[in-house]
Amino acid sequence: MNQKHEGKLEHRFKIAHREALIGCALAIFNFVWWYGFAYGMGSKAPEEYTFILGFPAWFFFSCILGFLVVVGLVWYIVKFQLKDMPFEDEEDESNEVNSA
């Protein structure tokens, strides 16, 4: 019983570790996108700015499109990457049967 318990535990923690790393990767991607467009396109003289949908291009890409892209990625991660699991140890028995 105890053996089985530990195996289950390792398994759940392994999933949790993977999901934490996904969180870090997403934050790094988000930062690079945000920084790249803001300072890549925003550093020229304001007179030379192009405008998209009324906003300066650097702001549109970095903050508006960037936000939408991140929301899309979060949706993808939630839908296809994250695993459902019980948090309570009491529920282990029934769930083990299901997942076995």
Binding site: F13, A20, L26, E47, Y49, W58, S62, V70, V74, I77
Partner: protein, 489 residues
């Protein structure tokens, strides 16, 4: 008094009260008072969880001056504020499932409970409790001042009366409802903020004659307003990036955020909260700060930054709508205060009193004490806010960064690094807090050290200290217990 504005506001406060009473009745039927009062019995679903998280992140940003800063600095500040989108997914993914499982096994109700079980060290517990009581109390008392100013600017009554109304509303509501009441109102407020900022943004754009007009006006006034560099070109990429630590990823270590990461019902609500939270926090931040920038050509010459949103709302919207929308920031402040109040009182009651003074306190004594301490702290905050002492404002200025520097590594490494031990945790907390205070004082005198926000260097320093001291006093690897600590022998 402008009843057209005040009336919807009062309706909102009454709704908030009813929610508190409803939550309280629900609590009467639950098993553990502590877990319920401070954590809502870990039963929050996706929407409530997302909204209470967002309301808590929002408090870190309203602290930054938010829309008022965007009004004077321009799009550069909106860019900075968008670093908060990361909080929407980062906290839940990083603390995530492991924290949820482990805190259940530890029967942990607060961040300190977790640290106490993980490191089994009185020094860690006392250092944490002192940081929370000092820093969070100051942060909270300052919100008290903000809430009173807001009521004052809407209704026109005197500051002390406004403060009194604010205190009474907050206290009644938090004392009768606990964490569940706070989370439920966070949800109402989140929804109001979500639609409110959108309506206000649209109204401001129309009042300014469309986006093209607004940006042309801004360029005419000062082209720097539409660059990422601020109105005087003062914001460097490095400095703005360092806010990713203060209001982005570092938020993971705030005790009021960590406690919410213990409160979800199951993995499904956590998943839903991830998506809702990211959308809502990004949407509100974007709208709220854009309103600040766009308000500049519409309503030039506002001197006090905190008045930007109220003045613009009153200017561009019909009174009843302005009343509802202004209820949102007021509500946001109330809920921030409520959740901080709960944390400070839980630190005093649980972490200090039950741990060190009276470990065998009965359930009913704990209950009376929690309510009593909450009421006393609220009253003290009221008295301090009547004429805010300088120390309070000073402490509030760096409360959030200080808490992040103190808690981030003991929490994150404690959760994910098996060689993390109490020596590392103690050294890291001391290094984080002292270097944060030191650099804060230095930066006030001489400008930003290395061109980054105050919080950056202490976070790096406390990481190094944590690892060095953990390895220096290396003990055997730590493994989390495999079942609930009360049930295993």
């Amino acid at each position: 008094m402008n009843w057209g504005v005040v009336f919807p506001l009062i309706i909102f406060v009454i709704v908030v009260f009813l929610v508190g009473i409803w939550s309280n009745r629900k609590m009467a039927g639950s098993k553990s008072f502590l877990s319920d009062y401070f954590l809502g019995s870990r039963e929050f679903g996706g929407l409530v969880l997302a909204m209470t998280m967002v309301a808590t992140y929002g408090s870190a940003s309203s602290f930054l001056g938010g829309p008022g800063a965007a009004y004077s600095i321009g799009l550069g500040w909106v860019l900075l504020a968008m670093s908060q989108v990361a909080t929407g997914y980062f906290v839940l993914l990083v603390l995530g499932k492991k924290f949820a499982i482990v805190t259940r096994r530890f029967n942990a109700v607060t961040l300190i409970d977790f640290l106490k079980e993980r490191y089994k060290s009185s020094a860690v517990v006392l250092l944490s409790a002192v940081s929370i009581i000092v820093f969070l109390f100051s942060a909270m008392a300052a919100q008290w001042v903000g809430g009173a100013y807001l009521i004052q600017s809407i209704t026109g009554i005197s500051y002390v009366s406004a403060l009194f109304i604010f205190t009474i509303s907050v206290l009644i509501y938090v004392v009768i409802g606990g964490f569940r009441a706070v989370a439920m109102t966070d949800t109402i407020q989140g929804v109001v903020m979500f639609f409110g900022t959108l309506v206000l943004l649209i109204a401001v754009v129309i009042a300014g004659g469309g986006l093209n007009n607004i940006f042309a006006d801004l360029m005419n006034e000062n082209p720097n307003l539409v660059t990422p560099y601020g109105q005087d070109g003062q914001l460097t990429g490095l400095y703005v990036s360092s806010f990713w630590i203060l209001v982005g990823v570092g938020v993971v270590a705030l005790p009021q955020v960590a406690v919410r990461a213990m409160s979800y019902k199951n993995a499904k609500s956590m998943h839903r909260a991830l998506l809702i939270g990211t959308i809502v926090v990004g949407f509100i931040m974007l709208n709220m700060h854009l309103i600040g920038v766009f308000a500049r050509p519409v309503l030039p010459g506002i001197e006090v930054a905190d008045q930007v949103i109220p003045m613009v709302a009153l200017d561009v919207l019909p009174p009843w709508l302005a009343g509802i929308i202004l209820a949102a920031p007021l509500a946001a402040m109330m809920s921030t205060v409520d959740s901080l109040l709960l944390l400070v009182s839980s630190s005093i009651v649980k972490d200090v009193y039950i741990n060190y003074v009276k470990p065998d306190a009965t359930e009913s004594l704990v209950k009376k004490l929690s309510l009593g301490v909450t009421a006393v702290i609220g009253t003290v905050a009221f008295l301090l806010a009547i004429s805010p002492p300088e120390l309070l404002i000073f402490l509030n200025l760096f409360a959030f960064g200080g808490l992040e520097a103190a808690f981030i590594w003991p929490l994150v490494l404690g959760l994910y690094w098996k060689f993390a031990n109490k020596y590392g945790a103690i050294a890291s907390m001391i290094a984080g807090i002292t270097s944060y205070i030191g650099i804060h004082l230095y930066n006030e005198q001489y400008g930003e050290l290395l061109g980054v926000h105050t919080v950056t260097i202490p976070v790096v320093l406390s990481l190094i200290t944590f690892i060095v001291f953990s390895l220096l006093f290396k003990q055997e690897a730590y493994y989390f217990p495999t079942k609930n600590i009360n049930k295993s022998a």
